[in-house]
Amino acid sequence: MDNPLVETMGLKKYFNTPKGNLHAVDGIDIKIQKGSTLGVVGESGCGKSTLGRAILRLLEPTDGKILFEGKNIVNYSRKEMIEMRKQMQIIFQDPYASLNPRMTVSEIIAEPIKVCKTITNKTEIDNKIFELMETVGLAERFVNTYPHELDGGRRQRIGIARALVLDPKFIVCDEPVSALDVSIQAQILNLMMDLQESRDLTYMFITHDLSVVKHISNEIMVMYMGKCVEKASSDELFSNPLHPYTKALLDAIPVPNLSGRNSKREIIKGEVSNPINPKPGCRFANRCTFAKPECTQYELELQELAPNHLVACTLYN
């Protein structure tokens, strides 16, 4: 059942800085099957948000292809992209910064309709707004309130309603629950999973929280400095992590139980190095306990070690 909705091939996004090219996303190939969720994890600065934005062409990719339902959208004109965005939407990380403070809830949710002119009849628009507010669990009385009057959870529900209003097929979720308290986070995650089921949505779920990503994803991609270091199904990645970075990342999660409390954990040393004009080879090599001279001699390719389990590491050559 190979039915990818979104596919990228060699997607790159470089930023020009005074010090050189910043390789934010450096050759990413992904395939997201219709109705499934791809989780993208990594630490701050690994390029996960840039990847999400580049796929929607909110940032122009430097190189590579983006296929949506098999069609390459990289060279689409502005007008064609507006048409495309009816099918691809985004939920932003910070519900405090991503809503216009001078617009009411209903205006915010209706804005995509106005931009794309999908519905022109005013009562129909109103009906659509009320319907969506109910779907995402916002009481009708909030329709004319402003974002500052609402708490983080409700604001994020507005962000979700806005992303859904055009009935898209694909939604990039850029850390949609990171800014929320755990109890609210759980409410929003449940909502997103219900919506996926009822509307057959495809998600790309960007987060740094590994327990959240395991909960919601079918497949997970681990990124490090613009590159994919490992990709596997959610269960496989957690039960059998292969790349040293993935292992270190999983080891670093503080688990909410007392097992392993007194055992000494392997903690990776150092920090993410500079992504401007990076050296060739494995970008994790300077922090890796298994690093060998050949790690930095040539560019590593992802290899398929088990069905659908890809890893880029010299340990498995």
Partner: protein, 321 residues
């Protein structure tokens, strides 16, 4: 007396705003023994930071006031202490690490100067050379090469900045460290590094610590005892074993655990707590959790529950007697 380092009794803190009074802390009781790490857990607005600021006497002037209660730190009465005395207590006996390392350092002073400043204020009888030597020692203690003391905060990464903040807090070897979400702004791998370092330092310097966090994982890995706060009160407190292994819990604690996606099990749905935190200007009658509680009884809406004590484990709920 026993070796209680900090004792907070029946503390009430209010914030006065133009149009309402916010009840941030409502009858908080808390005790800390020497050398102990207590995790203070709760959601945004539970009053965790306010409680810590009360101990430091750093509540926003004219807005935040302690209405009632007692805070005893190292046998000193904090609430009635004069500001001049507080200045020597802060840093020497208690110090605080703030949540955001990006904003808690002075951007126009080198990190060395910022540590030096603390020592200069508190160790008046030491020579400048002795103090400079101490700055180097402290930097090494938190894992920063001492030749970086002439760098400015912006030249450090988030994790390194937090190490500097910890260095400042520990410069005078206080007896109690209040760490307000020290790792929330950091990535997991860096968080693991910083937590490990704090654990080692704590053992080395025999400091007691209150670790304020909302992350149950961090608590399980680092704390000896856990207090769970809701609407300005401790609703459950116990040893980590009581909280993580005992079956009996306050319904709110159960809700917190139900909200965390479990890495070891695959559940399709989380079981979150319904609703939102109560408005601190208008707290519900009886138990503050009653509007969200799945096990709410009639009694809960009228009467405030008392503490049900079972050994080291205390739960404030009508379900437990």
């Amino acid at each position: 007396m026993t070796n209680k380092l900090l004792r907070i009794e029946d503390l009430y803190v209010e914030y006065e705003t133009d149009d309402a009074t916010m009840h941030a802390v409502n009858g908080l009781d808390l005790e800390i023994e020497e050398g102990e790490t207590l995790g203070l857990v709760g959601e945004t607005g539970a009053g965790k930071t306010t409680a810590a600021l009360s101990v430091m006497k750093l509540l926003p002037e004219k807005i935040g006031t302690i209405k009632k209660g007692r805070i005893e730190l190292d046998n000193l009465d904090i609430i009635n202490a004069a500001e001049a005395d507080m200045r020597s207590i802060r840093g020497n006996i208690v110090s605080m690490i703030f949540q955001d390392p990006m904003t808690s350092l002075n951007p126009i002073l080198t990190v060395g100067d910022q540590i030096y400043e603390v020592l200069k204020l508190h160790r008046k009888d030491s020579s400048n050379a002795q103090l400079s030597k101490r700055v180097d020692e402290i930097l090494q203690l938190v894992g920063i090469p001492s030749d970086r003391k002439n760098n400015y905060p912006h030249q450090f990464s988030g994790g390194m900045k937090q190490r500097v903040v910890i260095a400042i807090a520990l410069a005078c070897e206080p007896k109690l460290l209040l760490a307000d979400e020290p790792t929330t702004a950091l990535d997991v791998t860096i968080q693991a590094q910083v937590l490990e370092m704090m654990k080692t330092l704590k053992e080395k310097l025999k400091t007691s610590m209150i670790l304020i966090t909302h992350d149950m994982g961090v608590v399980a890995q680092t704390c000896d005892r856990v207090a769970i706060m809701y609407a300005g009160e401790v609703i459950e407190i116990g040893k980590v074993e009581d909280i993580f292994e005992n079956k009996n819990h306050h319904p709110y604690t159960e809700g917190l655990f139900g909200s965390i996606p479990d890495l070891t099990k695959s559940t399709r749905r989380l079981s979150p707590i319904q609703g939102l935190m109560p408005d601190p200007t208008d707290l519900p009658k009886g138990c503050a959790f009653n509007p969200r509680c799945p096990k709410c009884m009639d009694k809960c809406k009228i009467e405030k529950p008392a503490n049900a004590v079972n050994g080291s484990h205390t739960i404030k709920c009508h379900l437990f007697k």
